[in-house]
């Protein structure tokens, strides 16, 4: 019986563990987060349904932090996304033009963030920009007799954008360099013979050919910057005074630092909805089917 079933519908057998895990850790949580958003779940796990109270608090701006959080989120994404894409393009184009050893060296330097665990990366930034004479950059300033700078107070958002942007760069750079490497050499030689400068070659030959990787990387990092908050959590925790607290982090902190699980869930629900809407638009514009076919052909 079971064997016959396996013969007729073998894909069920092969897919079921994955489907099970995914339902358990993606679909049920999505439902659950919607449910919790309508409760006032607290630290002692006491709860009752409170209707739309959490959402009305969120949308009628009875929470004074919301405008600040929205502003932070926008500044963060508008800062980090171009930094990632342009930075990665720049670095891949530049490393293409130096000799092999140097190119390997620079690529290693910029790829390293991806191999450093979040906690260590967070520590590195926290410590480097610490506002006392013990911080790395302050101790350098100090040894030149310059006064210390309170980095996290002067440029909190900038530090967070750079710390996340350079993580993005390490991935995007990898994709871009391998894409550049697969461009037929003749194109580049042809351009060079025509007397095109480095910038002209890049602008008119390479970048148009990289359209697909650039688009995927932009979409990828857009999603990632909207959803992930781990590095901000580790580096500033959202501080000083919510200056670096983005939407996703605010949801997390509300739930797990202030123990307002209900309200935190309602914040996250907004994010889930944004994600679904964004994904639908992205998939429409990218043509999902084409993407799947593509990888098949290449294989």
């Amino acid at each position: 019986m079971a064997k016959g079933w396996l013969k007729i519908r073998p894909h069920w057998f092969f897919l079921s563990p994955g489907v099970l895990l995914i339902s358990f850790f993606y679909f049920i949580p999505v439902v659950l987060v919607f449910v919790i958003a309508f409760t006032n779940m607290d630290q002692a796990f006491n709860w009752r349904f409170v209707g739309l109270a959490n959402f009305s608090r969120l949308f009628t701006l009875r929470d004074p932090l919301i405008p600040r959080i929205i502003k932070n989120t926008i500044v963060y994404i508008v800062g980090a996304l171009p930094l990632t894409i342009i930075g990665a393009l720049l670095i891949s184009l530049l490393t293409m033009r130096v000799n092999r050893t140097a190119s390997l060296f620079f690529r290693a330097v910029f790829f390293l963030p991806r191999l450093i665990p979040p906690v260590v990366w967070g520590f590195l930034w926290m410590w480097s920009f610490e506002g006392t004479r013990y911080g790395v950059f302050n101790s350098i300033l100090g040894s030149f007799g310059l006064p210390i700078i309170h980095w996290f107070i002067k440029f909190p958002m900038l530090i967070v954008i750079f710390a996340n942007g350079f993580l993005g760069i390490s991935l995007a750079m990898l994709i871009f360099t391998s894409a550049i490497a697969s461009i037929p050499r003749d194109y580049l030689w042809a351009a060079e013979i025509d007397g095109a400068s480095f910038w002209q070659t890049s602008r008119f030959v390479i970048i148009p050919l990289l359209r697909w990787p650039i688009m995927t990387m932009t979409a990828w990092h857009l999603m990632s910057f909207i959803n992930s908050y781990v590095y901000i959590f580790l580096i500033t925790g959202g501080g000083p005074y919510h200056a670096t607290e983005v939407w996703a982090l605010y949801g997390y902190n509300t739930a797990f630092k202030n123990y307002q699980y209900g309200y935190g869930s309602s914040i996250m629900v907004v994010l889930v909805v944004i994600n679904v809407l964004l994904l639908i638009t992205l998939l429409r514009s990218f043509g999902m089917k084409k993407m799947i076919e593509r990888s098949r052909i290449e294989a």
Binding site: K7, R9, H11, F13, F14, L15, P17, G18, L21, I22, F24, F25, Y26, P29, V30, L32, I36, L94, T95, V98, F110, L115, P118, V119, F123, L124, W125, W127, V136, F137, S139, I140, S143, F166, L171, L174, A179, S197, F198, T216, M223, S224, N227, V230, A248, Y252, A255, F256, Y261, L271, V272, N275, L279, K289, M291, I292, R294, S295, E298, A299
Partner: protein, 277 residues
């Protein structure tokens, strides 16, 4: 002449971007292996004194903690995650590469969507889900949750590995009367062995590096290296030298594994790009 100048501009601009990072890396390294640093990067007394946690327990948290217990916890956590990712993805990857069924394209695109969403924003719900299923604060439960994060992309990777195997191999076996499962188990698995290794390391690495899942779902009760490090940092129990040394210890195993991983990963076509680490 102009060309030489151009070359130098490239070197200089690359170095300018790289220098702050180099300073950070070097300071980190020097801090780990010395008593303290001056001028940001110059070590004062070179040595291994910061690494004494390897043989002495660290006074932290509720008792003096031995690093090796925590190390083993982390290995266990990451291994479970690696196993789950490997098994689930090699099974699903095979079906998606070799079998035709309704909803396949939908399934594949769904995986990409799920990967983009990332479980982080569902963490509150996962917290309660694990709590009510009595899996919260236990390594296996949290490792399962962590593994499920890597499954969407893992399935794509596995599909890529199966796609590289020629059809003829399997056709012969099926003609001989093998079931699909036998084909998968006896023919494919041996062929894509390096791919399986890569999947395992993939699941292992992300779990090893993970912070937010471990911190939220496991932290107080079962310390892993990542949460212990963060705890030491937040509670100022030890100084930066020890933190740097501990970080170094924590980073080493993944770095070694990565060297192996990248050899395999660079060969596998994923998502039209070439390898994502």
């Amino acid at each position: 002449m102009k060309k030489v100048l151009g070359k130098w501009t490239i070197y200089i601009s690359l170095s300018l971007i790289a220098i702050p990072f180099l300073v950070m890396y070097i300071a980190f390294f020097m801090q780990a292996f010395s008593k303290g640093i001056t001028l940001g990067v110059i070590p004062q007394k070179f040595g291994f004194s910061n690494f004494s946690f390897l043989w002495n327990p660290i006074p932290w948290g509720l008792e003096r903690t031995s690093i090796w217990g925590i190390f083993l916890n982390t290995v266990l956590f990451a291994s479970i995650s690696g196993f789950v990712v490997t098994i689930v993805c090699t099974l699903a990857g095979y079906a998606l590469s070799r079998l035709e069924f309704r909803g396949k394209v939908f399934f594949l695109s769904l995986q990409l969507m799920l990967h983009a969403i990332t479980g982080q924003i569902l963490l509150i719900a996962i917290f309660f889900l694990l709590f009510y299923t009595k899996l919260l604060y236990k390594i296996p439960g949290v490792a399962l949750a962590r593994a499920s994060l890597e499954i969407p992309l893992g399935i794509w990777m596995a599909k890529g590995f199966f796609d590289t195997v020629p059809w003829d191999v399997e056709r012969a076996a099926i003609m001989d009367g093998c079931t699909r499962f036998q084909v998968w188990y006896m023919i494919f698995l041996p062929i894509i062995k390096p791919g399986i290794g890569a999947l395992f390391i993939w699941g292992f690495l992300f779990a090893w590096h993970d912070f937010i899942y471990v911190y939220t779902l496991l932290s107080g009760t079962v310390p892993l290296l990542s949460t212990m490090l963060q705890g030491l940092l937040a509670t100022e129990v030890v100084d930066y030298g020890v933190i740097a040394a501990l970080s170094f210890f924590y980073m080493l195993p993944p770095l070694i594994l990565f060297v192996f991983l990248q050899k395999v990963l660079m060969k596998a076509p994923i998502m039209g790009g070439k390898g994502i680490a």
